[in-house]
Structure formats: structure tokens, C-alpha cells
Amino acid sequence: MRADESLASVRSIRRERPVSLAAPVAVTGLGFITPLGHTVQAFDDALFAGRSAVRARTLELQGLDPITLSVAACEFDAAEVRSASRLPLDRGTAMALAAARTAMGQAGFASSELDADRVGVYWGSGIGGCGSFDAAAASLYGEHRRLRPTTVLTVMPNAAVAEIALHFGVRGSAIGYACACASSAVAIGEAMRAIRGGWLDVAIVGGHEAMLTPGLMTSWHAMRVLAQPPAPAPSTACRPFSGDRAGFALGEGAAALVLESESHARERGAAVSAVLAGYATNCDGSHVTNPDAEGQARAMRAALRDAGLEPSQVGYLNAHGTATTAGDAAEASSIHAVFGNTVPVSATKAIHGHLMGAGGAVELIVALRALEHQALPPTANLATPDADFELDFVRGAAREAAGLRYALSNSFAFGGTNAVLIAGVTQS
């Protein structure tokens, strides 16, 4: 930890409450480690060109037939990330810490502007330090080696929450959320509520997932939801909303945002790139994996109410779009029920893979980039949409969207948890 990144020494500058429960919340920082790249420039280049980072990977394990699956990996060396605790980091935790540091750097707090008691960490991950657990199990059972004293600390689901809070000296609420593919969307939304409610001024939010390890890849493969990479063009494996869709690519990465009450951001003269305007979460309450279009539609309508918007005011929708047969059918139905075929839709998991616990945060950032550029990223690999889906798909190439003001991002999870976030341009 660098001394100038710690909040521990600062004084309170304001403590008033509350902010309106309907107030937009400012976004003042972004950071990420993704298969599309680690910088905004690299991310934008791939996103708006629809350039896929999905690749084939073959796994050969003793006693088992080799399997080939689709993955979207990050170029990232976890060993280079230094933790404030000095303890070893799970790969996902290292990604989370790197993303959070970039986001906080961009938010540009001077140390006197932050009251550590009013700063929180809200972070999502589907399975936490599963890669470390996988490695520990292989070491114990396969190599008959003892485990390290820090095994528990690298595996625990809130490891990233702890390292981020420790790095910045955060003293407000620091909470991990585990609701599968909706984890980081829920973390972001709950932080937004905490800021609106006046409990926090600032929150470091987002999520991570890193499960490209033998045990986890084998587990996902067994579930038969991963796309088989086509031999001539593995990067086209994931084809959301396509008639020939066949599942997703297992991704990894982390994405962080800095959220801040508008008054706090204004007082310190921060550059506010966008706002979070609405959030809702609910549960299908009907099945562990089979999604319910009615539950999804209720979540989207609730998020619109939360933002005080009519469906017609949303100019872009980033779908959950996992490219599974049942998942896309339910979502096409729920989007149509709420928006008809008026809102342009794209599904970017085709290029960055399914980032699980990081997915909601990465796809919110996709929505933010669309707002910034006033342009909509295409759905890659969508030559022929499923004939049953009556939606306006952005496909082939990016689409200009002059006047775009609001963008919505869906995250729907195993367990039935739905989370919907709505971002908007800054009011001027």
C-alpha cells in the first residue's frame, strides 16, 4: 500500500444525511482486468468492433478423456500484485485489487477529501477463491502435500473485500455478495442504495471471478452449458440470441467502479463520467437454473420505476445474453414484455465471455461506454437471430446512438436472483 492511497489518516469533511432515495449516484472511477484488455482504450476498441477474446482450451486430466472448451482469459500475472496484507492472493483477488486501484486512481481523491468511516466496499464474486481451493485440493489429494497457513484466507469469498478495504484503509461497510452471475450487479446496486440512504459518501464496488482452473473448468463442462469451440473459428463459439446458439465461454476478470453521492462529487469538483439512475433485484423463486421470464420482467420494471423512467426513455439494453437455449429464450421474452421491440439490444458475452461474479460490473461498464461514445456495441456472431425473438438486435457493426441518455444492464443468476442496473448520462 502506498501511503497516499490510505484513507486512515483523513478527517471527516461532511456527514449530513440523507440523500434522496431516488437520487442518481455519481460514477467517478472505473478500472478493470478483462479478456478484452485492461485499459479503456483496449476495451473500447474490442467492444465497438465486436472483436472476440474467446479461445479454445483443451484440458487433459489423468484418467479422463481430454475435453476442449471455450474460454476468455486475461493476460494477467497475479504474482505482480502486491497486497497490503503481504499474504498470497488468489488470482481473482489479485485482479480485484488491481481493478479497484485503477478505479480509485481515476476517481482522484485527495487524501483530505475522504472520511474513511464514510467509504465502503461492496463487492461480488460467484465462488470467491475457488481457484485457490482447487489448487489446494490438488496439492493435498494429488501430491499429498500439506496446505499453507493462509489457505483459508485465499479461499474465503470475501478475500477481495478484505484486501481492497485494507489497501485503502476503508472503515465503512465492507460487504461481499455471492449471488452467482448477478453478484457484482447486486453489489453495485446495494452500494447505490447505501449512498442514497446517506449511509456512505463513497463506495468502491464491482466484482471478480477467476475459475479457469482444472476443477472449475471440468465442473462447468459437466453442466453442458459451455459452447464447443468450432474448429475453424473458436472465437465464434458464443452466439447470443442466434438460432444456432450453443452456450457460453467461461471468462475471468474483475471490474471496479467508484460510486459517490452527487453532492460529495460536486463539492470536491470531481469529474462525473455518468450516473447510476436505477436498480432493482428480485428472485424468480421457481427454479435453481431455469430462468423465469416473468421474474426478469418484474425486475426490469422495478428498475425503471426506481429510476423514474418510462421504457421508451431507455436507449440501449445490454442483455444478460448467455447464449444458452433456455436463457436467451426467457430473456428475449422478458425484454419484449417490458420494451416491445423498441429498445436496441446487444449481448457482449460473445466477445468477453461469461465473467460470472464480475459479469454485472463489466456489462455495466459496457453500458457506460455506450453512453460515453453515444454508440451501441454490436452482438458478435449474430448473423441470424432466432426467428422466435422479436427484438431490435444491434449486430454486424456498432450503431450510432446520438442523444442516448439511459442504458440498462441485465444480470440473471443461478439461484433465480435477477438484478437490473440503469445508467445515465450526467445531467448538464
Binding site: R146, R148, P149, T150
Partner: protein, 91 residues
């Protein structure tokens, strides 16, 4: 203390624990490595795994003041040189 032993120990501190090189000298006491008790235990495990041995608690209690990296390396060298039976319990 052989230089190879110290180099291995130093590499663990620099790469796994991200310590500044200036801090990692033979004369540095374990308690001055800027590692808390948990990280120090993790470090000792890493060293033991690297040399495939177990250092008996009584030969290296990090809570005892004054044990330096040089002393750690000497203990490692003595154990590596000892007959195989002295390395009991190594997994």
C-alpha cells in the same frame, strides 16, 4: 550459510512477499521483515517446502527476538547436510 541457500530464501521474500530488496540481507532479523505473524508463518512454510524439510519449532521460533535470515539459512544448511532420518515428517 551458503549463498545458494540465502538466494533461495531471498527470492521467496522478494517474489512471494514483495519485500524491498534493501530489507533482505543476511543480518535482517525475521521480526524486522515487515511481516506479521501469519505472513511470517506462511514464509517459513514456503521455505520448508522449497528445501523439502521441516524445521523443528525449537530451532526456529520466530517469536524469539534476534533470529536473522543468516541464522535461518544456517539451520537449513545443517538440516540439508544431516542424514535422511533427521528430516522426519517431510511430505
Amino acid at each position: 550459510m551458503t549463498s545458494a541457500t540465502f538466494d533461495t530464501v531471498a527470492r521467496i521474500l522478494l517474489t512471494e512477499f514483495h519485500l524491498d530488496a534493501a530489507r533482505v540481507t543476511p543480518a535482517t532479523p525475521l521480526l524486522d521483515l515487515d511481516l506479521d505473524s501469519l505472513a511470517l508463518m506462511e514464509f517459513v512454510f514456503a521455505v520448508e517446502d522449497a528445501f523439502k524439510l521441516r524445521i523443528p519449532q525449537e530451532r526456529l521460533d520466530p517469536r524469539e527476538a534476534g533470529i536473522t535470515l543468516q541464522r535461518l539459512c544456517e539451520v537449513i544448511d545443517q538440516m540439508v547436510a544431516a542424514p535422511a532420518g533427521a528430516k522426519a515428517g517431510v511430505a
